[in-house]
Symmetry: C2
Subunit: 188 residues, 2 copies
DNA sequence: GGCCTACTCTAGCACTGCTAGAAAAGCTAG
DNA sequence: CTAGCTTTTCTAGCAGTGCTAGAGTAGGCC
């Protein structure tokens, strides 16, 4: 009984840590999330954070990154639902770039950390593999092997996300880039 | 007379800072390059660094990043020299990925920093614009506007570089990805 | 030789992630 | 209801970071 309530309290606090950390990171970047400010925001002292995440700040970032992969998978899957060929490619790509643009720091955590997981491998984190499968499904290329083309398409999406975030791309050409991408990878 | 010797001494020390910083960064990552270790390595104290680079560590990283852009431009230009169509695309892409793989931390500095420069704009840093022009020249796509296609191609190259470095791509499929990229962007 | 300028260093600030040991709270048993 | 024990939580501090004010030292000039 007591253990159950205790467990729920701990789970709740863990979620609070992740929620506050994400919120603050989106507001002022990852460097603005310090163990001190984070601890104060949840109403506890620093060591409590290490009780939940022994790996410290980087483990907190990794946890948020995993949540991000789940959200990205859901968003791209929903976007491609029921579509075929180039339309599916365009829709999935658009959803991907939108997620990255709307959650820049979460997205950066998803790729900045040494999570050590090769997308196309079977023994990867299930969430990563799931996300990769969606990309594979919209590469309308029968000549090449699909996983390889998917790796290239994912790279293009990732590059676009990073470079748009860094303001290296012309904002007004966003849809043109998406059309170009869909034309090159969307198959028939 | 004396001023000239003085100026040369200062220039030499500036180069020593950049050289040592790059060396150490390639050996142990950017975090291992601290103002203390860097100052000690060049035989001076920390404030001397700020005499050369008032912006501190980030300005040193920016300076190295600019050198990196110069090297990347030279490497890709040399690779594409005299080639046409898909062959040029493949060669340039290969040179690009090789540079990123051989200079991972310099490459990361080239894109991690807020240098604030949109590649396709005329008023960008000349070095950046020059590098972009090479990419434009190997996009054999007459239907789309070339700069937009070049932005997408650059994104794909950047994404491949980052994700290969992060071990998210299967290493044994590297040439297959390059062929796929050249096939999709190389034109006729 | 004496002075003045320009350079260089020492010492320290404010901040970071992280942790050992003290204090407090809560549960268990008598 | 109290005593003791376990678990949780906090205080205080370490080692390291980027950066800088002011003291000290070297150099060239008259």
């Amino acid at each position: 009984m007591a253990e159950n309530a205790q467990a729920r309290r701990i789970e709740q606090r863990r979620n609070a840590i992740l929620e506050v950390a994400r919120e603050r990171a989106e507001a002022g970047g990852w460097p603005s999330v310090t163990t001190r400010t984070l601890a104060q925001a949840i109403g506890y002292s620093q060591p409590v954070l290490y009780g939940h995440f022994p790996g410290g700040k980087s483990e907190i970032m990794s946890a948020i990154a995993m949540i991000g992969f789940g959200e990205l998978t859901a968003a791209t899957r929903a976007a491609g639902e029921g579509l075929q060929g180039g339309e599916a490619t365009y829709a999935v790509a658009e959803a991907y770039l939108r997620f990255a643009a709307e959650n820049p720091v979460v997205y950066s955590a998803m790729f900045a950390l040494p999570i050590s997981a090769t997308f196309a491998h079977a023994d990867s984190e299930p969430i990563l593999k799931e996300a990769f499968e969606i990309i594979v499904s919209v590469t309308g290329d029968p000549t090449d092997d699909a996983p390889t083309t998917a790796e290239v398409l994912w790279s293009a999406l990732h590059g676009l996300s990073v470079l748009e975030q860094a303001r290296r791309m012309r904002p007004e050409r966003r849809t043109a880039r998406l059309r170009s991408l869909a034309a090159h990878f969307g198959g028939s």
